[in-house]
Symmetry: C2
Subunit: 164 residues, 2 copies
């Protein structure tokens, strides 16, 4: 246990690496100034910088790119035993992605207010997500359909399904 | 204006198509029972179903797959003028992705409680996101670094940058 604890110390060098990736991506014109590395057992297994504008993909934030990179390398959709080092507090999309990937910890340098000050929507989306769907700036409209509910019943009855 | 309004009526057939995609993905064993279509000017320009477990990508939710598909087709990282029809209320990751993509509206059939009842973490993540980072089940740890803050100053000074 003690050994495991020592292995999993927070290592600021990884956070500095995430910041370097952020700088590299920004300077190359790939996207915003955000970078991320994912570490398992002392090894970097995933890395990413923001590529939204260069890849025409609004989901290509540093964390999402790094999660996809790490999962592809591990051949798994889960990041158990991994630490995520990211240059800035994850936005709600990336926070959600991290919950689905289930790493051990997320370590970040700047925060959502710093990002907002840089001109990014993080803090705005954090406020919006707490509102009821009908009160948001982006219209969320619920139209219940019996067939949609039936999907979940079928899912629960399925055997041999892979849970995530 | 009137014409534009008529064009943009909510069309339940698209929601039914999203539910069909969800069923297809589930039955083919691609992932969970979720589907999404993106519509612009009366045409389906993006579609997706959940592929988390089949592609080893925890970010491959129906909405993220459909957003990437639509953006790739449009050659843009923005979905102005688009409606998103999705079989279930977006999880926080997909909600964030939608805010970044900026469509006109999001129409969904089942909701986060239905998803939770189906065994999915949506409602849990919605609760977690509202907590202070240090109070969450997944550890979020802030380690401020001067270099990380400097990134945003550099970004603000950059000319010819592409905003998103």
């Amino acid at each position: 246990m003690h050994y495991h604890y020592m292995e999993n110390k927070i290592n600021i060098a990884y956070l500095e690496l995430a910041v370097s990736l952020a700088r590299e991506g920004m300077e190359k014109g790939m996207g915003g100034p955000f970078g991320c590395v994912i570490v398992k057992d002392g090894e970097v297994i995933g890395r990413g910088f923001n590529q939204v504008t260069s890849s025409n993909d609004p989901t290509a934030h540093a964390e999402v790119v790094a999660i996809r990179d790490a999962c592809s390398r591990l051949g798994s959709y889960q990041l158990g035993g991994c630490d995520v080092y990211t240059s800035c507090e994850p936005c709600p999309m990336c926070l959600g992605a991290l919950y689905w990937a289930r790493p051990e910890r997320v370590i970040y340098a700047s925060n959502r207010e710093d990002a907002a000050d840089g001109g990014f929507d993080d803090a705005f989306i954090y406020r919006e997500i707490q509102l009821a769907p009908e009160g948001r700036k982006l219209a969320f409209i619920e139209k219940p359909l019996p067939d949609a509910l039936q999907l979940f019943r079928k899912w629960k009855e399925m055997i041999n399904k892979k849970l995530y």
